[in-house]
């Protein structure tokens, strides 16, 4: 840094130029700020000091700078609101709590604040509903129960059709030339014996009819019953296990 040159000024020089500043004065005045802070070298400080001693206008000017600085130092810090520190601590604390809260903590808070009160109400409502509906069912059962009418009804199942029981001889297969089933409409009397029959489908050859008749004559049926009394009835019999000749 190049040291600045500050020249002392002869008082007569100022008188000759009125209050107009010389170049030295301008240079000194430009350094007033640094001079106030002591931010000039020792040599510069000495030169400025010497200039101020010899130059009343610059001295007055510097005096007003110093007064300005003193006026600034007279300022007091603005009054902080009484609760400022507390307010800041609360703000930081809230921020910290917000940052650190995990999902489980947040859920716990939500649970405590919202779900739990709601759950109590919901549980109370549910229990109330059960009690109400249960009471209604109980009252309906006690007061408006339907009568048991089954005993007075005529049983519809008292009419039965004939049912095959067994064959009096060993069962023999019906031998035929066609691979088909034989369906027979048989009439059974009150004793459970077949007294008539008709081949509904299947071969109707004499040989087949003879074998069918033989089978039916040896078969014993449970007769049809009406209210327990045996009566005649009809039954459809199917011969499916037929041996095919050949």
């Amino acid at each position: 840094m190049t040291p600045k040159i500050f020249r002392p000024v002869n008082p007569e020089q100022h008188q000759s130029i009125g209050i107009q500043s010389t170049a030295g004065c301008q240079s000194v005045r430009a350094s007033f700020s640094d001079y106030l802070d002591g931010a000039v070298s020792g040599h510069e400080m000495y030169a400025i000091n010497a200039h101020l001693e010899s130059c009343p206008p610059c001295k007055d000017e510097f005096s007003s700078w110093r007064k300005m600085q003193h006026a600034l130092t007279s300022l007091r810090p603005p009054k902080v609101p009484d609760d400022m520190a507390l307010r800041l601590r609360v703000a930081v604390s809230q921020l910290k709590a917000k940052q650190e809260s995990r999902w489980s903590d947040r859920f716990a808070v939500q649970w405590d604040n919202a779900i739990r009160p709601l759950l109590i109400q919901a549980s109370a409502g549910f229990a109330g509903t059960i009690v109400l509906v249960g009471s209604m069912i109980l009252l309906l059962g006690m007061v408006a129960a339907p009568q048991a009418v089954m005993a007075n009804d005529v049983p519809l199942g008292e009419m039965t059709s004939p049912r095959y029981l067994y064959s009096a001889a060993n069962e023999r297969p019906i031998v035929t030339g066609q691979d088909t089933t034989i369906v027979i409409d048989a009439s059974v009397n009150a004793k459970g014996q077949v007294y008539d029959y008709k081949i509904v489908s299947g071969p109707e050859s004499a040989e087949v009819q003879h074998q069918v008749a033989e089978q039916l004559m040896l078969s014993v049926f449970e007769p049809a019953r009406v209210f327990g009394a045996p009566v005649r009835g009809r039954v459809i019999i199917t011969f499916a296990g037929i041996s095919v000749r050949g």
Binding site: M68, Q69, S74, P77, P78, R87
Partner: protein
């Protein structure tokens, strides 16, 4: 003797840095107790700085809170290149600057029905030792001092933001040129230049105010009330 004093200063500085490093480590760990200490230590100066940097000092409390919230959020990014104090002041000035921009966009056009009261902001009794007058001022002198403080605050508020920030940091907060450069992220030459122009501007404003009151306190022979020109520095 002088060497001994210097050694004591160095040891003290090292102690402060160690203490600060410890505080920063605790802050980074999220210690609320450490934030409590930080708030206790810095909430007053940060509030002062913010209050003097805003167009409307009534917003100072909210902006101070924003500053500390920002500190809490970004303390992990503090790498220790600057001192903690410098870093805090940088955040504070940045927040104040944001608020000023918002204010100029929204609030400037509002008209309040309450005229601002011309009174001592502190509302405290005078501390004679902190005034320029000698002990034993009369009530008249105290009132004059109070009026002077209000006037200085008003003139300070009239300074362009960039000059005002430097003047406040230097004259009221006592930062060195280097620290101011760090806070404002400018070079030392700019700091010196703004400080010179800020002081000159403030002196001119005070001189003008004194001339209006008929006082010659800040008037120099070369000063005329109408010749002040304070040009805001280029950003």
């Amino acid at each position: 003797m002088q060497a001994g004093t210097r050694m004591a200063d160095v040891a003290s500085a090292i102690g402060i840095r160690t203490e600060e490093a410890s505080l920063v480590a605790e802050l980074k760990a999220g210690s609320e107790e450490a934030f409590g200490r930080l708030i206790a230590q810095y909430h007053q100066p940060i509030y002062s700085l913010v209050s003097r940097s805003l167009n409307d000092p009534a917003d100072a409390a909210d902006i101070t809170q924003e500053v500390f919230i920002k500190v809490f959020r970004s303390i992990r990014g503090f790498n220790g290149d600057a001192s903690l104090r410098t870093w805090l002041y940088r955040i504070a000035l940045h927040e104040a600057s944001n608020q000023r921009r918002w204010w100029s966009r929204h609030k400037r056009q509002e008209i309040t029905i309450d005229a601002p009261a011309e009174s001592d902001e502190t509302g405290e009794s005078f501390s004679l030792g902190s005034t320029l007058t000698h002990q034993g001022d009369s009530p008249f002198d105290q009132a004059a001092q109070s009026e002077l403080r209000v006037q200085v605050e008003a003139c300070l508020r009239e300074l362009p933001d960039a000059f005002r920030a430097v003047v406040v940091l230097r004259e009221l907060e006592g930062f060195s040129y280097e620290e101011i450069a760090e806070i404002l992220d400018v070079n030392i030459g700019t700091v010196k230049s703004r400080l010179t122009r800020g002081r000159a501007g403030l002196r001119a404003l005070l001189g003008e105010a004194a001339a209006q009151r008929g006082s010659s306190r800040f008037m120099s022979p070369g000063h005329t009330p109408m010749n002040r020109t304070i040009v805001e520095p280029a950003r």
